[in-house]
């Protein structure tokens, strides 16, 4: 499973990074970085929850 960021939509709100801090992070410029390309199966529930708290629906998961 992979987390895909639509960078044109992302406004750097940071909710996803708070929901899954070891998968996603805002860097010093406030831009979103995906820390782990592949989401381990044990992290799937956290990744799904992180994707769904984005206020502009800029994230999705790909199998």
């Amino acid at each position: 499973m992979r987390i895909i960021v639509d960078e044109a939509r992302c406004e750097g709100y940071g909710f996803c990074a708070e929901a899954a801090p070891h998968l996603l992070e805002l860097d010093d410029e406030g831009d979103l970085k995906v820390l782990s390309e592949e989401v381990a199966s044990g992290d799937a529930a956290q990744a799904e929850a992180a994707v769904r708290v984005c206020p502009v629906a800029a994230l999705r998961l790909e199998p």
Partner: protein, 390 residues
């Protein structure tokens, strides 16, 4: 209050927006194994509201782009299903079709609806008054904007000013009417004045109507009459005059009131019942009158706290609000952490408002109470820290 319901019970979540979605996710993340049924009166699957007054209204986004990633397969989502009553004794949610949903645990995330200036009967439908709350509202207004040249927005809060900015951006002549100067309550005088100047620079007309307004006529309004007697006219009039908590379905259960649904420090309402999102009213350390905090960030934090409290009861940690909200208007991208309370002093830490890029901290009696960025990308962790650390 009591213990939690444990990990095996059946949970019903009433609501179909981010609070409901987050509560369902949080229950599963915390190991809940029983059934979870999400009951939404919307005809759409859950979607995000923040773009509705911005990109969606402008026509830059398609309705498909605002949908939240589909819920997990082990969560049962029922759309077009309205909760109309609650039987606490028998632990059942009553649906409009006559069905009764039994529950061991209930999450109330029934949200809020737009307040209207004209009398409004939800069952009979609207009387032509335009608001922006749901996806269908935004889609309809976008089509109306495409045929219009002038707009009056009643209400100069977050939503009203965002609608005004979007409409001005696509070329409409825009007037904003409010009883008070715009945005002061939400952003404090310092920032509100800057935002208001930006609106005036874009050619928006601001009208004060201290006594309030009415929408004369029937059908879709094309005029606003102020209490002082001034008549303003435009092709389109949109009302952005706040929201009302959806508590009516709880009336017979003795829960909820005009201020919202009161929760304790763990987002609990009653044994086996928790709540999150725009419907929730809480008392804070600072203000003892129950208040709602109808923001995205509050909905998410409350949903997580509510899920934990439902499962763990008194063992759950208390909910500690950490306010975070934002707006985009007149080319200004503003994010705020904390509360810009009356009597606090703004200090510009980086940049300046004149350069339209700034990092601002508010202090009261030397203690930080809030921080904001204006067109200044900053990690949320850092902004939260500046809002709370001297």
């Amino acid at each position: 209050m009591t213990g939690g319901i444990g990990s095996g019970g059946d949970v019903v979540v009433v609501g179909g927006s981010v609070a409901a979605v987050t509560a369902a996710d949080a229950l599963r993340q915390q190991g809940h194994e029983g059934s979870i049924t999400v009951v939404s009166d919307e005809r759409h699957a859950p979607y995000v509201r923040p773009p509705l007054s911005k990109g969606m209204l402008k026509g830059a986004e398609t309705p498909e782009s605002v949908f939240i990633s589909p819920l997990r397969a082990d969560i049962d989502l029922r759309t077009e299903s309205r909760a109309v009553g609650l039987d606490r004794g028998r632990r059942r949610v009553l649906l409009d079709g006559g069905e009764e949903l039994p529950y061991d645990g209930l999450v109330v995330a029934s949200g809020a609806r737009a307040r209207r200036l004209r009398p409004y009967d939800p069952q009979a439908g609207d009387a032509g008054e335009l608001v922006v709350r749901d996806l269908d509202d935004a889609v309809r207004l976008r089509a109306i904007f495409a045929e219009a040249t002038s707009l009056i927005v009643v209400g100069g809060g977050f939503l009203g000013m965002e609608i005004a900015s979007t409409a001005r951006g696509i070329g409409l002549a825009v007037t904003v009417v409010d009883q008070d100067p715009p945005l002061v309550r939400q952003f404090g005088a310092f920032l509100a004045e800057h935002m208001t100047r930006a609106a005036l620079d874009e050619g928006v007309r601001l009208v004060r109507a201290p006594g309030g307004v009415e929408l004369p006529g029937d059908g879709r309004p094309t005029a606003v009459r102020t209490f002082e007697g001034e008549l303003l006219e435009a092709d389109v009039v949109v009302s952005a005059v706040g929201d009302l908590p959806n508590v009516e379905w709880l009336a017979d259960s003795g829960l909820g009131g005009p201020a919202g649904l009161l929760v304790d420090e763990r987002c609990r309402v009653a044994p086996g019942i928790v709540a999150a999102g725009d419907v929730v009213a809480r008392v804070s350390e600072r203000i003892s009158r129950p208040r709602r905090s109808p923001h995205w960030g509050s909905a998410i934090a409350q949903a997580r706290a509510a899920a934990t409290a439902l499962l763990m009861g008194d063992e759950a940690p208390a909910y500690r609000p950490s306010p975070y909200y934002w707006t985009e208007q007149w080319g200004l991208d503003i994010k705020v952490c904390g509360e810009i309370v009356p009597g606090s002093t703004p200090n510009v830490l980086t940049g300046s408002l004149e350069e339209h890029s700034a990092l601002i901290q508010w202090t009261r009696d030397g203690v930080p109470v809030a921080a904001a960025t204006v067109n200044h990308r900053t990690p949320l962790v850092k902004l939260r820290k500046i809002a709370t650390t001297p």
